[in-house]
Amino acid sequence: MNMLAARAPWLARAVQSRDFVPLIMLAFTALLVVAPLTMILLATLTPDGQAAWQAVTNSPLSRNLWWRPLGNTVILGIGVTIGSVLLGGFLAWLIVLTDVPMRRFLAVMSILPFMTPSFASALAWATLFRNERIGGQAGYLASNGIPIPDWLAWGLVPTLIVLIAQFYSLAYTLIAASLSSVSGDLVESAEMAGAKRGRILFGIVLPIVTPALISGGMLAFAGAVSNFAAPALLGAPVRMQTLSTRIYGMVQTGNIERGYVLALLLMIAAAALLYFSDRFVSGRRAFVTVTGKGTRTKRFALGRWRWPLFVFATAIGVITTIVPIVVLFASSMAPRPGVLFSNWTLHYWIGQGGTQIAEGQAGIFRNPHLIDGIFTTIRLGLTVAACAMVVGLMIAYTIVRYKASPYTRLLSQLSFVPLFIPSIAMAAAYIAMYGTSLGPIPALYGTFILIVMAATANLMPYAVQSGRGVLSQLSADLEESARLTGAGPMRRMMEIIVPLAIRGIMAGGLLVFVKIVRDLSLVVLLFSASTPLLSMIAFQYASQGFMQFANAVTLLILVLCLLASFLAHLLQNKVQKWKKT
């Protein structure tokens, strides 16, 4: 550093400045995120793009193209955020901090919904609640004599419920990770000081997990706002459009500029909302709790509420998890669509080809691409999860440690943007940017690296948010002591920060893994060969009208996600040994 100071004083000053790290991270984010954003912006400045701005913002179309979808989107976003945080927070509290029976079981039930694709939940809803609006066969409830009004069968209400049922588990994952770091000491001291339970919950626990609540809420918001399947399936019969169905539609019908304009406006709207929530969090006192002393988490005794609350939590899990999975499972076994629970056959899983069933298609386990697909999917999922978490952790660390820098807020906002970029635009930008060699960067087109880069950028928000939730509680004292004893930054990261934050990191890695394994709309565009990925195989079956096969593959993806979460759990226990005794 001294040498540097002598040779290039300006550089030394820059390095020592509090803005240095944020600026480096900002530059990094720019490469991954600002590039596609710029491409979108440029596309809307062409003559076609200007016409699109006009059509969207100031024409007879504006009402149906922008304002009404915006209204629906905002209602969905806010509703899902509140619902998910309340439900996820309640479950996290119940499972981590109380003596409710069968906590392991409840924990598994609570992470499952995030792994169920939203189209499955939407279809499950329609199977049960479908009414005479679309003619043909009525849903399960209607055919049993329970009249279902339109508002409960289609539109905003069912979409809201289906999305909450999916995203509460995301909030749960983040909040539970944060709650598990609430040290028993704090609770015990409060108890000794004579604080009542309610006081401990609202005075100690809640403030500590606020960052995780906000992170979970923000992700639920972004997830709800950008979700396509649920509003497309449940909203169409009553002509409900959201911004994401509009963006999808504009791209599909060859009006890509309008899609881009809507995406940009959506980003601005979301940024405005998130800006205020960000201010709200940064304005609060910061709590530092994870000190590594790590007494075992102290559990509240629920008393006579133990079993009623258990039943309630189980009911939530059954309704949001088991029902969609059963519908998915049944439709992978039922020879006829719409008649789910009779004449089950295993043909679609293991049947031989060349029979009368399914135009001679063999079961999925006889598809030679399937095994390949499983491994390619796992490889991609793990690589992207690892990359995203490294990047996410670095950005989260910067955001938390360099709060004072003006660049930090920009970084925090930028890291959120990818959730709103339509995948087709993201992929196109990556082809344009990194397709040909650029200075020292060789042409990455068609390589695994490019796919991983795009996927990492796309899922960065999940990684950053889950990193933030946990890191914001890490005590700087420990790091300071390590630095004083001569540990370098890498060593401090690996031996202090990572072990303490492992649950948050694992939770985040799992979210990324699940996202990438389940939904590959972005990656498909970048694959140059017919590399089989499970979600592509499912899509191929579905596009040929073989829904049973598609559902079977979707279930397989679910199993893969479950295995991953199980492994993450094992690993985390291994690292956090002190929690065991």
Binding site: I134, G135, G136, G254, F527, A529
Partner: protein, 377 residues
């Protein structure tokens, strides 16, 4: 050392030779037969095809069997994604695609063809078998449909819809199903075609209601009026193909709605316990036929193998078209080569009461109809 030098020199010479002969060859390739293309294709050793149909996997197997030494890289990608990918690639100066097998022709003819991003190739041997309208620009491989379908079990005496305008009457209020035309190009093209056939729609109106149609001032013609009346008659949109099919087609009690979908949806009737049937006698037409085309990518890296692939996909001279066409022969789709016979269970091509879209004209009118639908939603 000397050896290396010789190698380097000869490869430079070879490269130079290739450079000089390449343009001339590309020209010649267009007139070559499969046999003449083969040695050049073998030299290239590879062909990359983007396909909207996942059945391309079967083509990969049979093509590599027939032409060992040429590896097929088959990427299953819907038309919208193919267009996005090709544009992004070529703008970055990457020419990686040999063959595109795609629909969404109104967008292809508007955004790709005028820019020269895709090129036509029509094997001389099939030219006579393909009607001229199906090879004016790009070569049509097969025709798919979007047509009015009804439940044959609920209406054993034939379709309840004899005239499209019935769909705008109170009897069918809320009982016509369609997938969202602002999200599906094919459905939008169906509405565009109805709008373009304004005279036929006006005639049909008079035939049903006994008086001449009055078109709203802001609309152009009877077809656009039909679209407005249909939406104001509470047309129901469903975005899930499976749900759409079973709502109309399942054999069960009760009144059944009617709706627009692909005619080939009826091919699994028996398997799925359904009774979907095309309402072919409806006037003025039951729907549209739209092309799926084969095109070369600009500067295709394997120009000979690319042409060989297109030649193969057009099928042989047998009634089924052989291994190159068979995977795509399904009930309700029609081969562009009229030597390939129609599926025995489907209505013969010549008896179809469907409008054949003109991609260029459709492309020009698409925006206006899309905007009309957006306002009506």
């Amino acid at each position: 050392m000397k050896h290396h030098l010789k190698m380097a020199l000869s490869s430079v010479l070879l490269g130079a030779a290739a450079l000089f002969t390449a343009p001339a060859q590309a020209q010649d390739f267009d007139t070559m037969t499969a046999e003449e293309l083969l040695p050049h294709a073998l030299e290239e050793g590879k062909v990359t095809i983007l396909s909207l149909s996942s059945r391309i996997a079967q083509i990969k197997t049979s093509f590599e069997e027939k032409y060992p030494g040429i590896e097929v890289e088959a990427v299953h990608l819907n038309s919208t994604r193919q267009i996005a990918r090709l544009q992004a690639e070529q703008r970055a100066g990457i020419y990686a695609v040999d063959v595109l097998y795609m629909s969404e022709t109104p967008v292809v003819y508007r955004d790709l063809l005028p820019e020269g991003m895709v090129e036509a190739f029509i094997p001389a041997r099939v030219k006579a078998d393909v009607p001229e309208a199906l090879r004016e620009n790009l070569l049509t491989h097969r025709l798919s449909t979007r047509a009015l379908m009804y439940n044959e079990a609920a209406h054993p005496d034939g379709s309840p819809i004899e005239n499209l305008w019935q769909l705008t009457t109170p009897e069918w209020r809320g009982r016509v199903l369609i997938d969202d035309p602002t999200q599906r190009g094919e459905t939008l093209d169906l509405l565009v075609e109805i709008a373009l056939n304004a005279d036929a729609m006006a005639e049909a109106y008079e035939a049903l209601f006994g008086e001449a149609i009055e078109v709203d001032r802001d609309l152009e013609g009877a077809g656009e009026q039909f679209i407005r009346d249909l939406f104001n008659n509470d047309v129901v949109m469903i975005n899930d193909t499976q749900t759409l099919r079973s709502a109309i087609g399942l054999i069960s009690e009760g009144a059944k709605p009617v709706g627009f979908m692909t005619y080939s949806a009826s091919r699994n009737n028996e398997r799925d316990g359904m009774a979907l049937q095309i309402s072919n006698d409806t006037v003025p037409a039951a729907g549209i036929l739209f092309p799926t085309v084969l095109a070369l990518g600009k500067n295709a890296p394997n120009p000979a193998a690319a042409r060989l692939m297109i030649d193969y996909l057009m099928g042989d001279d047998s009634p089924t078209g052989g291994t190159g066409f068979e995977p795509f022969a399904v009930q309700g789709d029609y081969a562009a080569r009229r030597t390939i016979v129609d599926h025995p269970d489907a209505i013969p091509f010549d008896d179809l009461n469907l409008w054949l879209i003109d991609p260029e004209r459709t492309g020009q009118a698409r925006q206006r109809i899309l905007d009309l639908v957006i306002v009506l939603q």
